[in-house]
Symmetry: C2
Subunit: 263 residues, 2 copies
Amino acid sequence: MKQLFVIKVGGNVIDDEHSLDSFLEKFSRVPFPKILVHGGGKIATEISARLGIEARMVEGKRITDKDTLKIVTMVYAGYVNKTIVGKMNRFGNKTLGICGADLNLIPARKRTGTAVDYGYVGDITASEIPAEQWTRMLEKDICPVVAPITADSSGSLLNTNADTIASALAQALCRTYMVTLIYCFEKDGVLQNPGDNSSVIRSIAPETYSALKGSGVISKGMIPKLDKSFEALHNGVTRVVVGNAMKLDELIHARSGTVLALN
Amino acid sequence: MKQLFVIKVGGNVIDDEHSLDSFLEKFSRVPFPKILVHGGGKIATEISARLGIEARMVEGKRITDKDTLKIVTMVYAGYVNKTIVGKMNRFGNKTLGICGADLNLIPARKRTGTAVDYGYVGDITASEIPAEQWTRMLEKDICPVVAPITADSSGSLLNTNADTIASALAQALCRTYMVTLIYCFEKDGVLQNPGDNSSVIRSIAPETYSALKGSGVISKGMIPKLDKSFEALHNGVTRVVVGNAMKLDELIHARSGTVLALN
């Protein structure tokens, strides 16, 4: 079975041109087949503020109203996505910038039935992703660069979590490939001590994960990321690594970062 | 030889949701293979104004500085492009939203050597477009929806005229297909009397075109569009039609609008 890398990049790496260039240069050397999923960094928040559109938060979660949807579509699927594609062209990689709406490659539905109305937020299911269409692209050495915008069957665009997209794609493609899912950001991995970048936990199994959550070492934003990682492992993804985007060449061999494993 | 429709839509059609819906419903019924090239309407200007970025014009032409490039990339390749793709999904058409940078499908170079520095503006050449890659997409009944952003070989994104892109694609593909190039907007065609939508000139040949320019009937924005149309015809495109986006079903049969012909 061929190996596939599904790599999600987010955080400050997107916002800083020097970091992004350095990351993409490393990404261009990752062997094909590969998929890059990106977030939007702080640019969407900055543009919203400049346009006078306030971020509406309910219980710590952002609400995607119509104006916010317009902005995240512009920033994620437009500016960030095409900036990455342009830069990747320099390295001779065949890069195709898409969002989940394109060719309906990531079918979604608007989140409903929750106590809070999140607005234009899309939920996706790995089993609904048309794996064959993805495989046909990957077999041609086309590298998809995926912005976290999807659409429902009524044609409405939806804001969708980029970590979730990466995990769902990894799961959808693990019947065809041995999939390594990599979450990269600006830290060196899951840290024992949040302030200390040298305190990387090198490996986490499900039991350790429960203990680390229980003791509060792992908290907040890291929990959904790791929940999705273990879900991916349970559903057939070979390996999940969380670590520093600037060390991508080490992450793909699991020589850096935190490696999640089932046993 | 199979027929291919290359359709450019611009003007107010993009800005008004009702018009856009109505146009796309008609576009979904245009037989495959087909390509849609879109402009950005007034949204980019509106967003620029709200962000306090002034449109810099020199001799009536817009200058694309770094901020403007960011905005047109967001609006054209993000918001407008993905809104169209989402809406097209409803009709079951397989729609792929791209810009010229994707897979380097429209290679460009930054405009230089002009008296005025236009900034991040891209020029393209029909012969440099990889026609085989386009044909492979079209043969799979994938409908490309093209935003007028390109990139040069150094990876820099460039603002590129959508009329030029449509004409260049039509020319690049006319060895493989019988190509009909259609420019749609909010008027019924090239008008004898600019204020009177019923004064459509039904047909223009090169000699009539010279006379109409000479007498001032055809002026300003219409001249580059028609220059590109006649260039396309001289380079093998079968037919060019200019007309109302709301009458697309008639335009594809040349039953409405202005038909440009070499003889």
